[in-house]
Every structure is written in structure tokens, then in C-alpha cells.
């Protein structure tokens, strides 16, 4: 892959060098995302934010990332029922909409739709999620977060020890993250799930073939011991035949502060793709973890802005111009933490 002008449709496009280049640029976005500096490098550019399926946080994360580079955002949310009902092909839709912007971020409920759209688009398209298929920027921000958290603890990605917890069968994020980990030196992966929600065998085998150590278990206490990262995920109710069936699994793998203290090494990082289920029956990550400095879930969502800024900068080939269009921020930027 080369970035300038590239579509970003799948994490399979990325080789290790691409990931490293992306993360290095993302690091350089911190002063802008943290409001110490502003840059106007993309002043005059337009992002087409085409969310044919709602996703407030992903949509706004993309939009803010583009604004932080100085660009404008034109947006659609929800299904454009009219043109579809009139029999327009995705190719035509893409052909038309790509005349209105410099780059497009798109989410769509159907698998493969973003790739089909990209074939009609005259400008680069970033996949913001196509059904249960791909959501590459989520996987990239997850790995970037693992890297950042480990770096701040004096470590690197190689030799990583990670526990993935929860619904590993239907969770798109853990699948994608696993595929990204294939690019790295042998890592230790604990897969913690009830038998019915185990990681698909093809992914487990791919990890093992790449030389990674994979341990599968149903026991949370055992799974989260001796790892650097606990990556918790939601039981996705919508995947089950009934609410009753989903309820069988909800709350089985709850992590709270006392479980953490009893089982985790000090400084074990806690991640979650969010939203976490905070209802009484679920509490995947109990709110009593909110004061634990190793709870990285909000740094993780913040990192989404850095990674998306970096992607835009690389696709539009301005990564090396960002700092030359910059100045200090002149407004109140203190944050509450």
C-alpha cells in the first residue's frame, strides 16, 4: 500500500511498515488534538462523511479529525432511501458524491458495500464500518492504544501479552485486532469466553501459525493473570435469537476493581471498544474501575482522533506539511480529568 490517494477498506491492506508509518504520524498529531497548537494544513479541503448507518461517535471522530487539520465536513446520516428506492446503483451514488469532496469516510449496513462504493468513487474512500465485515480504523486505534500504553510503561509491542475477554465469536473488533497482531513478533494471547462465544477457529489457527501462543479459557481470573492488556468486549444482544439467550451470557465475565486487584499484575491496562454496558445486569467494566489509572478506555477513544488525523494526512499527502501550517492555540483549553 501507498497512502497518497489510497482507499482504506480493510486492515489486510496494511503491512507492518504501513502501520508504523501511520502510528508515527499519529504521534505527531498529539499537540493538535490536545489543543496546544492548531494547524490549517487542509484549509479548503472537504470530507464527505457518508454515514448510511448511524454511529454518532465514529462519525464525529472522523469529522473532528478532519476539522483539526483545518478542513470542512459535509455530512449525510441515515439511509438515503430516495435514491435507492429509485433504483440507483452504489456505483452511481459514489460517482456523484465523489464530485463533492476530496475524501470520503463511509459507513453502510451491508457487508462489501463500501468496497463497491469505492469502485465508483473518484476520491479516496475510508471504510467506517460495513456491516459485520470490516472497521479498519477501530482496529488501528486499538493497536495504537496498546502501543501507546506500553510505551508509557517503557515497553514495546513485541512480546505483548494480551487477554481478549467477552464475546469473541461475534465481536468484529477482536477479529480485526487479531489480524493486525499477525504482523508482529510472537505475542501471547489469552482468549476468555464462554464456549458458545469462542473465537472462530480460523483466527485462532492463524495466530498459532504465525507463532503466537494462544490460550483459551472460560475463567476470567485465570485469563487476566499475567498479561499486559485486558481487552474487554460487549455481549452483543442483537446477535442472539432472543434477549433471553443473550442474558445467559451477560455479566458472566465482569471485571471490577477487586477482581483486578486479586488477579492482574500491577499496571495491567484495561481496554474496551465502547460503548460498555453499564446496566445492573451487565457491568462488563464496573464503574469502580473509573478511578483506576490503568483504565485506558477513554484514552482509547481519544486515540481514534489521532489515528484518523494521521490517515487523512497520509491519504491526502500532507503529513509533512502539518507543522508548517500551525500556530499556538489562543483560547482556554484546560481539561477536566
Amino acid at each position: 500500500m501507498k497512502f497518497p490517494g489510497s482507499h482504506i477498506l480493510s486492515i489486510d491492506q496494511f503491512e507492518r511498515g504501513d502501520v508504523e508509518r501511520l502510528f508515527e504520524v499519529a504521534d505527531r498529531m498529539r499537540p493538535y488534538a490536545h489543543r496546544q497548537r492548531i494547524t490549517r494544513v487542509l484549509e479548503g479541503a472537504i470530507l464527505g462523511s457518508m454515514f448510511f448507518e448511524p454511529s454518532t461517535r465514529t462519525r464525529i471522530s472522523f469529522g473532528s479529525a478532519f476539522n483539526l487539520l483545518g478542513g470542512e465536513v459535509r455530512e449525510t446520516t441515515g439511509f438515503e432511501t430516495t435514491a435507492i428506492a429509485k433504483g440507483e446503483s452504489l456505483f452511481d451514488t459514489a460517482r456523484v458524491l465523489s464530485g463533492y469532496s476530496d475524501v470520503i469516510a463511509m459507513r453502510h449496513p451491508e457487508e462489501g458495500s463500501v468496497r463497491e462504493f469505492a469502485q465508483g468513487s473518484r476520491v479516496p474512500v475510508i471504510n467506517g464500518g460495513d456491516g459485520s465485515n470490516e472497521h479498519p480504523t477501530q482496529a488501528l486505534l486499538d493497536l495504537y492504544t496498546i502501543r501507546s500504553e506500553l510505551m508509557s510503561r517503557g515497553r514495546g509491542l513485541d512480546g505483548l501479552r494480551i487477554a481478549m475477554v467477552g464475546d469473541l465469536r461475534y465481536g468484529r473488533t477482536v477479529h480485526s485486532l487479531s489480524r493486525l497482531l499477525l504482523l508482529y513478533q510472537p505475542v501471547h494471547v489469552h482468549l476468555v469466553a464462554p464456549p458458545e462465544l469462542r473465537m472462530p477457529a480460523e483466527i485462532t489457527e492463524a495466530l498459532r501459525s504465525a507463532g503466537h501462543e494462544v490460550i483459551e479459557t472460560e475463567a476470567l481470573e485465570q485469563g487476566i493473570a499475567g498479561v499486559d492488556i485486558v481487552y474487554s468486549t460487549r455481549i452483543q444482544e442483537e446477535r442472539f435469537a432472543s434477549r433471553e439467550e443473550a442474558d445467559l451470557y451477560r455479566g458472566r465475565l465482569r471485571l471490577n476493581q477487586s477482581v483486578y486487584t486479586a488477579n492482574c499484575e500491577p499496571n495491567t491496562v484495561i481496554m474496551h471498544p465502547l460503548p460498555r454496558d453499564s446496566r445492573a445486569g451487565a457491568q462488563e467494566l464496573d464503574v469502580d474501575l473509573n478511578d483506576n489509572p490503568n483504565l485506558a478506555i477513554f484514552r482509547q477513544s481519544d486515540n481514534g482522533v489521532l489515528v484518523r488525523m494521521a490517515l487523512f494526512a497520509l491519504i491526502l499527502d500532507v503529513a509533512d506539511q502539518v507543522d508548517t501550517h500551525a500556530r499556538d492555540v489562543n483560547w482556554f483549553t484546560e481539561r477536566r480529568f
Copy 2:
């Protein structure tokens, strides 16, 4: 209250000095809102406009105010059903969304929700209305309008004589405005409503305890005599058990030009929080008042932009920099009136 970095959740936060500081800054926003000058003081800043309940005019008023200071707006309209359905807490939602902007304006259908959201937010939050609870910027723009209209007639706020007309029981705006008036020297308040829609006793008593003169009446003619301001409000159908019950009250307190001429002092100012009900059965403010120069209802909604610009400038601490990032407007700006 100090403004830089403050949440704006309730008018109870405001002392008289705060109101005066706000209005003084709002005055200085006129050349920008009136398109004689533009300022880029907030270029690079992002407003998160989170309207979980629709309100086109409030939403666009906030957004335009931010644009007029040079900033960008990222927006959500309607309920983010997905994350709520997935069991996310308002704290988490706030934590995540506050990573995408420098300040947030939020409306939500539930009382107290904006305060709860603010507790999770890392950036300042402005309440754009939370159910029937608070809508502080509306009360501030109302008082700002009263002050501006009186100033242009050579008067000040002290000694103000005001009639509030209509549904005083359920009308959020008259409640908030009354509470703001407590900050001022004794004023004369006429409360004009059917018995079933009278101002709540606690507000009437608070006004009296503060030394204000309060007169309650059902008769429009009597109520609007001898005042500086007539503040009319809508009968809120949605508050009644049935349309029939609401219809009992609709149209009872109609103001038109002949009623105005017969009862009001010359130059009595007419206000309304809008939308006014212009249907045949209602006509709270008859369209024959449109040519009356004392009809201030559109100056009132215009003032919302000034007050919101001033709030943004104070919260982000750029009030004193606005003019240094300014220049003349270069496009056609003549307005039809």
C-alpha cells in the same frame, strides 16, 4: 461563577455581575452578527452540538454563533438510540464525546440529564434545554432583549414594568426569566393568565420576597396597561390531557393591534419566546402587529446569537481577543426588513 472553563447549566449560577459582564460582551458582538465585520478568533476550535432532542432554531443559533467567531461545528441531532440501547451511561457518552470538541452545547429530553452529562465531560457544557427543567440561554437572551429595547428608549432595567401573559404554569421561559429578575432592583410584574395556568406560587413568592410588586389578573386589557414590556407565551398543548382541554385556553389572551392601541402605553415592547401560534384559533400575537415597530420578537431571536457568541467567548476566554482577529466583510450584506 467564573466563565473560563465553566459549565453553563442553570441560570442560578449567575450573579448580577456575571449577567452584566455577559451583556457587555454581547453588545460588542453586534458588528459581527450584523455582518459589518468578521472575526476569526476561534478559528480551529470545535463546538460539539449534541441535540438529543430536535430544536432547529436553538441548534442553529448555537452553531451560527460559533461560526461567527470563526469556529467549526460537529453535530448530532436526534436520539443516539444505539449507544443508549447498548446500556451506555451518560457519563461514558460525555467522556467520549468531550474528546472531540472544545465546548459542547447540549439538549436532552430528560430533566437533569445535561448536568449528569457535564459531570462526565472534560470540556465545558452549555445546557440548551433539558426537558422542562432549564434553558438558561433563553432566559439570558430574553433579559438581554428587555435591556436592549429599554436602552434604545433611554431606560434601564431597574424599575422595569413587565407583563407576562399566557400559560404561566407550564411555560419554562417565564419561570426562568422571573428567577433572573430576582437579581435586579424592585420591578413591577403583571401576571396575566387563566386561573388554571397561573404562575406557580413559589415563584410569585420569591418575586415578592425580593421586594418586587406582583399583580395577578385574568384580564389582558388590565394586565398590559402601564408596563414597558408585554411578554406573551404559547399555550403548550402538549401539557394538557387532551386537545379539547388545551382548546379551552387557546386564544383567550390574544393581543392584536387594536387591543394594543387601546390599552398599552406608546412604545410598549412586545416579546414572545417563539414559535408563536399563528393558526386561526390561536393568534397569540396577531399578524397585524407585524408592522408595529415595538414588536421585538425577531430582534429577540436575533439576540440569541449575540448572547450565545458572548457565552462562547467568555467560556473559552477570548472575549478580549475578538476584535484583534477581525476584518471588514467583503460580501453583499444588505438585509430586507
Copy 3:
């Protein structure tokens, strides 16, 4: 008509000189729309994009056009049910919303609504479609496309030979385009439609009275022979009593590459207002035409941005300042074709 400050409600406002001025300015917008240059001439200006009826592509075309001139966009999509339900008049809505922007682009499902809105607006209003009544920017971009395509073939608009094909009875675009053609020297018009979907007699007569030659036919092969432009339109299902009735007409006037080769002169331009119906039963313009360089349908939608930029520039009186606020583009702008 003069442009600065004008509402754009109907193509009937345009005289030939206005159209020529508009097209000349649109030509000068190419370097900006094609991302060779950016201009900031409208930096600080705000477009109110009020789409009370959904239309993703028209809405985004207007918004991008305004962004390309350096301005900001505040937007509403879908019906503002609340204020309407509360009995607000379009006059009041316009009065209020026009306090938030410098110019308004508006679409509304009811005929005449945009004109009524404009009467209350204090800023210029552009009609983005009001029911089945008018959609002037579509007609203007159609004529601009005809002119551009002919110019690139060394021709002009006078003496034009055009075939309009499909549903000529209900198609708003062919009606408006016909009315624009009245401004030009005698042209040759082929009207190709089933008897039930013929062009309304008043339009046919207006064309003939203006000296134009009009030939009506049901036969596609005959109609598309000997013309410069084939303007195809969609059978609008929603106009018929039943799907069955609409299906009687769908697919009757299909154009594909072999029909084109057999009947059209070389370089005959193919246009369509889009969306084209690409479903199996319809195929108004077969996808095998996608490789035909004379298929101008995507250049046509791209031209919408140029024409809307030109309209904004003329209404806000900055047409002659566009180039003085310009600079080269610094990001990757290569397009896929």
C-alpha cells in the same frame, strides 16, 4: 433580475443575459472545483441549508459549493415537525432562520412554499426544489452542461438539436429546461415519450411559438437520430396510481451502446438528471454506456457545483473577488476516472 441580494425562486426570473453572466462566472469556478486552487472569498459567511425534504445530493452539492468559496454551512434535514405542529407560519420560520445566515438554500415538499418563505426572509433565498413546482438550479446546470459539452465539440447553443426522452409529462426537469430554451435562437426539439407521458401541450406550444421546431414520437430510434444531445429521464413510479401502471412504461425507452451506435451521430452527448434507474427492468441508460466518453451524466452532476458556486458568488456579489482570495492547493488531488 440583478443578482446581488436576489432571491432565486424560478427560472422565469432569468433573461438570456443573466444566464450568460451566470455561465461565464461558473466557467471561472473550474480551477476551484477541480482542486487546482482554493479561494477563501466567503470566509466568515454562513449558508443556511434548509432541507425540509430529504435530497442528499442537492443538499451536499449546495453545501460543498459554499465550502469551496470558503464559507460555512449550518444545516437542517427533514421536517421541523415541532414548530409546524406548534402553529408557526412559514413567514415566522423564515424571519427567525434568516437571522442565522447570509444566504439560504431551501427545499420543501409543498409547491410555492419556498416563495412564501422568501417573503419572510431577510437574506437571499435559493429554491432547491419546492414539490413539483420548480428546481431552478437543476435546469441551469442542465443548460450549462449542454453548453459545455457543445463548446468542447466546437459548437454553441444556437441551432441546438436535442432529444428529450422518457416521462415528459411528469418530469420537472424537462419542463424547466424547455422553458430555459425559450431564451435561445430556434432549436430543434425531439420529444420521445409514450402517448400517456407526452410533454404538456402548453410547453410544446410555447416552444413552437418561439420558433423552435418540435417533433413528437414514440420511437426511440427515430427520436435520437440527428441530435446533439439525448436527455433521458426516469419513469417516476411515485406519479402513478400503482406499481403495475408504472411498470407498463418502465424500460420502454432503454438506451444502450448498440442502440446508440446504430442510431446516434458520433459524439452525441447523453445526459440524465440522475438518479438513473439501473434495476434489471429499467436500465434507462444501460451500464454498458459507462465507457462511452459521450456519457455526460457525471460531468452534469459535477457542473451542479460550478453553477451553485456561481450563483452564490453573484448573489453575494463576490464574483470579481474570487481570484484575489485564492492560492494553490497543497494536498493530493489526483482523481480516478
